[in-house]
């Protein structure tokens, strides 16, 4: 009886994870594409030394985001870890997180009238490493130097 309820809860979690996970992902990507178009004029460059003239201000800007893995993605990754290979279920997660982090960084720069962000770097960490039965989450931090030109 125990294992039957376990199976039922597993199937329910999988369905919820798949359904809500894919809806959330689609909406997030739509939002990302829209904002990337809007913030395209805030130039982000990984280069260290700016080649911009007339810099009046420079300061740190950051953009960070935490995205959680859903149950479906996590189970898929667990199966994949048996056989090895690319964890495709996590790839989209990381892609979204990085792009979102950049967008937030750009938004912060824009709020201070900065047009460029130099020395862009990323930090990725996971808040809960997903021990045993808990789903994990991914945090991406993007930071750089914002430049305000006159």
């Amino acid at each position: 009886m125990d294992s039957f309820f376990g199976l039922i809860s597993f199937v329910v979690l999988m369905l919820l994870g798949y359904f809500f996970g894919s809806v959330a992902e689609k909406k997030h990507y739509q939002s990302i594409l829209k904002r990337e178009a809007e913030l395209r004029h805030i130039v982000v460059i990984p280069q260290r030394f700016p080649r911009v003239a007339n810099v009046t201000e420079s300061f740190l800007v950051t953009g960070s985001v935490v995205i959680s893995v859903d149950y479906f993605k996590r189970f898929l990754a667990t199966l994949r870890m048996l056989f090895g290979g690319r964890l495709t279920s996590y790839e989209s997660l990381l892609d979204r997180a990085r792009r979102e982090a950049i967008l937030r960084l750009q938004a912060q720069a824009q709020s201070h009238n900065a047009k460029y962000v130099y020395n862009l770097k990323f930090e990725t960490s996971s808040i809960s490493k997903g021990q045993k039965d808990r789903v994990g989450s991914i945090e991406v931090l993007a930071y750089g130097t914002a430049l305000v030109c006159s």
């Binding site: 990337e36 189970f75 994949r80």
Partner: protein, 266 residues
């Protein structure tokens, strides 16, 4: 130092999609991986079961007896020296004499006062008979058939084989699921009731029936009525009436057929 001035972009470029993300559908990947994992698990289970049941035959009976010492304490036997217990033990001894040529096995009969219609053999040569079964069986040959069948299981080393296979499978499950409770709850040292009621394969059951009939042929002229218990179980609407019987003994109809064939072959 590079003298050429850097070309400063006016805006960020449009990055094409699909480079950092894979395009195949997650459900397809799930199906593929699940099929692979299940296939792998089945193969491993079969291998583990075969190896362990094959090797268990060579475990000495003395080791098995030592393992089973906790069994005697587990099920409280009512009336340990009652006439019924003594009678069952003497029947068992008589039967074992017919099939244990080298006289290597020591079987002990246990009588449990309970309405359950069942009898089973477990590790260490212990044969348990419930009073419910004794109430149902009316003929000598019927009772001896049951006892002989359980005795045959012991002589064929079925209990230790089934126990070894089950432990192996549980270990495999624990490894796959990463469940650390295995050592505490399912170790062989801890004889829960699930270890008593071992389930034997159809092949083992058939072999036990054959050996039982062999013993009965030496003791009885006429084997009519040997299938008494199975006929009763079959007629009493089967699984709903006797779940314990069906968890440890499958398929009464096939067994009735086999017994009838043996009777008619004389």
């Amino acid at each position: 130092m590079n003298e050429r001035p850097e070309l400063l972009p006016n805006e960020n470029p449009v990055i094409p999609e699909g480079i950092n993300v894979s395009s195949h559908h997650p459900l397809r990947e799930l199906g593929l991986l699940t099929a692979g994992a299940i296939g792998l698990f089945i193969v491993l289970s079969v291998v583990v079961w075969s190896i362990l049941t094959f090797g268990a035959r060579y475990i000495p009976m003395s080791w098995e007896t030592r393992l089973s010492q906790s069994i005697e304490n587990l099920l409280e036997t009512d009336l340990p020296d009652s006439q019924i217990q003594i009678d069952l033990q003497s029947r068992l001894d008589r039967i074992v004499q017919q099939i244990d040529e080298q006289n290597t096995f020591q079987l002990t009969a246990h009588y449990i006062d309970s309405d359950v219609v069942n009898a089973f053999a477990t590790l260490g040569g212990h044969v348990f008979v419930f009073s419910g079964l004794l109430d149902v069986i009316e003929t000598d040959v019927g009772l001896d058939m049951v006892l002989a069948h359980e005795a045959a299981h012991v002589l064929n080393r079925d209990p230790i084989q089934a126990a070894a296979g089950t432990v192996g499978l549980q270990l495999l499950m624990a490894l796959v699921t990463g469940n650390g409770d295995f050592a505490q709850t399912s170790g062989l040292m801890n004889m829960g009731s699930n270890m008593l009621l071992l389930s034997y394969s159809r092949e083992q059951e058939r072999a036990a029936d054959e050996r039982a009939l062999e013993a009965l042929k030496a003791l009885y002229e006429d084997l009519t009525g040997a299938d008494e218990l199975f006929v009763f179980i079959q007629n009493s609407e089967g699984e709903r009436a006797f779940p314990e019987f069906f968890s440890s003994h499958p398929n009464p109809s096939a067994r009735i057929a086999n017994i009838q064939k043996a009777i008619n072959s004389d």
